[in-house]
């Protein structure tokens, strides 16, 4: 049985202009121990998807329809108390910006104690602090620093603290939402290494959300490419990188400069992502797609199986 099962999830943002579908009929499932890379450009809905798994979509966003099942819990319909118990204990969430994600007036130790107390109130403060220190040590931070304030840490270390907090209660699922976007490249590499190592040793199920394809290549078992709220392609990492099927995936991979190829011209994808308040008819990508034909302008492509992966593109849909 999969650990996380998302089925036809639709998340809408109600704005004055229109109802925008930030996530449009996305289906995914995660087996235990697996790592999924969720890739896409800014605004494609990947963060919203991540937040939906713990029902933290910020208003005016709302989960409109679909199913999300974590183990045996119905995430969408369960009570407020139940979802609260899921957060932190069964699902650990790492946010993008460690600078603003920690409470500036609370010591790191207090963050740990608060969280542990919320979920395991019988644990004494001393024990909670001890656990926090253990976690910090595991992540390469001196345990004494548990008494420090967030601003006393560097960006990379703060992110380690966030990872520590996310893992402190031993969750089954870890969701990392752009964990390295606000860090410099060297620190980024360290954090990714750390995540890989933790994944192995703790047998984590990991969803890695990012716009950086590079990170996904070395950490994920499977990759899902999102565009404008929908999944464009979903497949094994190796397959996707060697033989990308969806034109968008191809374009994404092409736009990553290759350090070994000399004289390469930087390529980009012409056009801009669609305005979701007034989406184009048919396939959302067709205005920018070099292979678009008539059917693309009229009919929305559905995810279909092809060569072991899934693609939402009429090029592969022989019907």
């Amino acid at each position: 049985m999969p650990l996380l099962d998302i089925e036809s999830l639709v998340v809408e943002y109600h704005t004055l202009r229109a109802n925008v579908k930030a996530v449009d009929r996305v289906s995914l499932s995660m087996e235990k121990g697996h790592t999924l890379g969720l890739v896409g450009e800014s605004g494609c809905g990947k963060s919203t998807l991540g937040l939906s798994t713990i029902r933290l979509v910020p208003p005016p966003g709302k989960i409109a329809s679909g199913h999300i099942v974590l183990g045996e819990t119905d995430i969408i319909n369960c009570s407020d108390e139940d979802i609260r118990k899921v957060r932190g204990k069964r699902v650990g969430y790492i946010f993008q910006d460690p600078m603003t994600s920690l409470n500036p007036v609370k010591r790191i130790g207090a963050h740990f104690v608060e969280m542990i107390h919320t979920h395991e109130p019988e644990v004494s403060e001393q024990d909670a602090l001890k656990r926090g220190k253990d976690v910090l040590e595991r992540l390469g931070i001196l345990p004494e620093r548990i008494d420090d304030f967030p601003h006393q840490f560097s960006g990379g270390m703060r992110q380690r603290v966030m990872i520590g907090l996310a893992l402190a209660l031993g969750p089954d699922l870890l969701i990392a939402d752009e964990p390295t976007t606000s860090l410099d490249v060297i620190v980024e590499a360290q954090i990714i290494e750390l995540l890989k190592e933790l994944k192995e040793s703790l047998k984590l199920t990991l969803i890695l959300i990012t716009h950086n394809i590079g990170i996904v290549a070395e950490t994920a078992d499977r990759v899902a490419v999102m565009y404008a709220g929908r999944i464009a392609e979903l497949g094994q990492t190796g397959d996707l990188f060697e033989k990308p099927m969806h034109p968008y995936t191809q374009a994404l991979l092409n736009s990553v400069p290759n350090i070994t190829k000399k004289g390469q011209v930087l390529s980009w994808i012409p056009g801009a992502p669609p305005d979701l308040a007034e989406p184009p008819p048919g396939c959302l990508y067709h205005p920018r797609c070099p292979h678009a034909f008539d059917r693309c302008k009229k009919e929305e492509p559905l995810l279909t199986k092809c060569n072991g992966s899934q693609v939402a593109c009429h090029l592969y849909d022989k019907r």
Binding site: L56, P58, P59, D80, R84, R87, G88, K89, F95, S101
Partner: protein
């Protein structure tokens, strides 16, 4: 700049302000109508009587001299003499003031608690019917003339339901006597405080019962701005990343709202309380009249009907100085609490 230099600078600023204020009131009362003394008398009065009257009040001297006597007198705590019986206005001021102070304090309590609680409720259910109705209430409550609300409140709670008294501050014999040590008395004039000091729970109960309706009225009319302030502050803070991150860790919603977000709003609320003090005093004038509350406001209104212009001047000056002092204190406390101001 350090706290000390800020305080000094602030005090230096207050002095000219108070001077301007005093001058302004002087101009209004002594210069504007021409001759406050003759204005006082309804019927014609003989020139000798008028001169004698003026002499007793110091109104016969040239304006410049009057102005200096006025300023010097204030330094000594002399707020002038009443036109009615030539008694010192300061006496009346200081005996009536504690009642107004007590009303102001309790109205503030209601104003802030109702405002903050409603503001928090509104922010938690953003854009819902509850949010909108709370916001409308906040605006509407200010639009109601306080004396109208007072009458409505009296009709409902005092006359129809007999829950609370319809006016006055206490009934005879129930006035608390305050602290008594040996044979020495000391009372603050604040009945609630005095009854606690006296150790008399019955008197405490009675004092509170009399205080309730007027404070409720004044507090309700002024709570709107606190609703708005709290709501705005909460909405901003609740959007911040660390709040979402805390929720993602499963922290209880009440802890998030009250522990995290409300702490941010604390300082602005405190400042706003200071700013609202003037409005409280203004509102107290009308509230005291409606509820026959024996405070400075009612005294002022009283004096108007007697055309006692010198007394009016004294009370107005007192109010002005009081507000100036309070805002000075608030600014200093704020600077102390918020390091950003001074550094």
């Amino acid at each position: 700049m350090s706290l000390r230099s800020y305080v000094i600078a602030r005090i230096l600023l207050t002095i000219p302000m108070i001077m301007l204020l005093l001058t302004f009131v002087f101009l209004v009362v002594r210069v504007l109508p021409g001759d406050p003394a003759s204005l006082h008398f309804e019927k014609q009065v003989s020139p000798e009587m008028l001169l004698d009257f003026k002499r007793r009040l110091g109104l016969d001297k040239p304006l410049i001299v009057q102005y200096f006597e006025y300023l010097v007198g204030l330094l000594r705590g002399d707020f002038g003499k009443s036109m009615q019986d030539f008694s010192p206005v300061s006496q009346q001021i200081f005996s009536a003031f504690p009642a107004t102070l007590e009303l102001a304090i309790f109205s503030s309590i209601i104003m802030v608690s109702v405002g903050v609680v409603l503001g928090v409720q509104a922010s938690r259910s953003y854009n819902s019917a509850r949010d909108h109705s709370i916001r409308v209430f906040g605006i509407a409550s200010y639009a109601i003339p306080v004396f109208f609300l007072g009458e409505v409140v009296i009709m409902i709670f005092a006359i129809y339901f007999h829950l609370f008294p319809a006016g006055d501050r206490i009934y005879p014999g129930m006035a608390p006597t305050g602290l008594t040590i040996g044979g020495l008395h000391w009372s603050s004039g604040l009945f609630v405080l005095d009854s606690i000091l006296e150790g008399n729970p019955t008197k405490l109960g009675v004092s509170l019962r009399y205080l309730f309706l007027p404070s409720l009225t004044l507090g309700t009319v002024l709570c709107g701005i606190f609703i708005r302030l709290t709501r705005g502050n909460m909405l901003e803070t609740l959007q911040l990343d660390f709040v979402t991150a805390a929720r993602a860790r499963g922290i209880k919603e009440t802890t998030v709202v009250y522990g995290y977000a409300l702490r941010n709003a604390f300082l602005p609320i405190l400042t706003m309380m200071g700013l609202q003090f003037a409005a409280l005093l203004a509102g107290a004038v009308l509230t005291e009249t409606t509820f026959s509350w024996p405070g400075l406001g009612r005294y002022l209104v009283d004096r108007i009907s007697f055309r006692d212009y010198t007394a009016i001047q004294g009370v107005v000056v007192f109010f002005g100085i009081l507000v100036a002092m309070v805002s000075l204190a608030v600014d200093i406390i704020y600077a102390y609490l918020d390091p950003r101001i001074r550094f």
